[in-house]
Point group: C2
Chain length 284, copies 2
């Protein structure tokens, strides 16, 4: 080492090497600074979604939806009289259920109507960026369960930090998931990160995660209206394997896995309270 | 410069300086490599949410919820007979509306019942990570409108790329938003990225965005059940300013801005079709 440092070549050129290194560092610093600055200029806050899509040829720009004259709005149905109160009475009865009646299977047309309802959700620029995969075959449910339990063992032991595991203790969850094979239906909700127009062009899906989650909210209401119980899960790290299992394309990412059916006779649920109105609502 | 380089002190210590710089760069490289590698090991796929929370003292770990024995599940209400079909008939009538009747204001108790319903949504580890800010004062609505329109002018002209603006053309939207002052209510839905336990400790909110979006889906159903119309918006880059306007704390981030009320008499809506069931549902 000492020999290397003292070699004449290095000795002769050390100022250049040092200068080069300093310049490289300075350049890197300026680049980083400009990157951060340009981000600040574009998006004033930390709270927004940075959107960065590849631009197509501006002359060839076409909207994904057809441009048609707007039509008069027709008021839909409601639950009047007292629609809001009646809907609240319906919604408040929903509980996440982890024990399902494996013998009692609701007819598929009920599930279909619930998914039809979910499909009425609003979405960014009406892109409808969702796919509902309904699993009823026992073998497929078992394959889903095996994949999820395998990852959940790693999640609980390694991936989830101690506070997370502690916070789940009152819910008495663990890596064993009988509901994934007991529930008569699993609904795997995929968000489509992009799509394809009728003309075969790439269709950009704005706010696909928020849109698909809203559709999931509508689906939960529909299931409740049908007298069915459900469990919303977001199986950590299982998305890619479940996507391959169900042979979904690469633009679809698993967002939520729902178990759906009738609650088991002896089903118990956590003794939870919900926040009261004044804790979730502020008036201006 | 030359003088500086040739000064005896620098000359004497140049191998140390060079070595130091090289070591610093190597260290930085290794750190970056390990960070990337640990991410890969932890999460096998690109589709999952990386979770990286600070760990508290493991001995002091307490769940955010109280640990209580579970209780028997009681089946809630439903819309039977034909609950799923009846709910679909309700949900399919919802349309996003951009022209509101500024004279006709639903009573606040209806809005409250709708938000009560939204508050029944499931959430990660029952964290209920949402705040619904209901704006009815004209001055506040006008301030919201001004802020949003100011940003939307920049969004349409600069931040949104050409394809995005083109995709919005069939919806006939632009940076002018009369509905923000016409609608009798604006509901600004904030997700809470973290919270506080009853003991004053930091409470981690898992999947706050998905949970709050699901609650928004329930809210939309409640509004429809009450015979009200709404518009879901995600005003790009307006979150921080609106949060400050409403004096919400830093752990709350704006997710969705809803305009709520009765549709204007002459309200028109885009002539849109929804995807049919076989385009959104796959059976296994």
């Amino acid at each position: 080492m000492e020999e290397l440092f003292n070699s004449s070549k290095l000795l002769k050129h050390w100022p250049s090497i040092l200068l080069g290194l300093l310049l490289a560092l300075t350049f890197k610093y300026i680049k980083e600074y400009r990157r951060k600055r340009s981000k600040n200029v574009k998006l004033a806050g930390e709270e927004d979604i940075a959107v960065d899509f590849p631009l197509e040829d501006p002359d060839a720009l076409q909207p994904a939806l057809e441009e048609k004259p707007h039509v008069p709005f027709v008021q839909g149905e409601n639950l009047n009289p007292d629609g809001a109160r009646r809907f609240y009475e319906l919604a408040r009865g929903r509980r996440s259920v982890r024990a399902f009646n494996a013998e009692r299977k609701p007819p598929i047309n009920i599930i279909e109507d619930c998914i039809r309802a979910a499909g009425t959700a609003p979405s960014g620029a009406h892109t409808e960026p969702w796919t509902f995969c309904v699993v009823q075959q026992l073998a497929v449910k078992q394959a889903v369960r095996q994949l999820v339990e395998q990852e959940e063992h790693i999640n609980y032991s390694t991936r989830m930090h101690a506070q997370w595991v502690t916070d789940l203790r009152p819910l008495q969850t663990n890596a064993i998931k009988p509901y994934l094979s007991d529930a008569p239906y699993l609904i795997l909700i995929f968000k489509q990160t992009y799509g394809t127009t009728a003309q075969g062009r790439k269709k950009l899906h704005y706010y696909h995660e928020i849109s698909t989650s809203i559709a999931c909210g509508v689906l939960l209401c529909a299931l409740q209206a049908a007298g069915l119980s459900s469990l919303v899960t977001t199986p950590l790290n299982c998305g890619p394997a479940l996507r391959r299992l169900l042979e979904r394309p690469a633009n679809e990412k698993l967002l939520i896995l729902l178990a759906v059916g009738y609650a088991a006779e002896d089903c118990k649920v956590p003794d939870l309270q919900r926040k009261c109105l004044q804790d979730i609502m502020v008036k201006y």
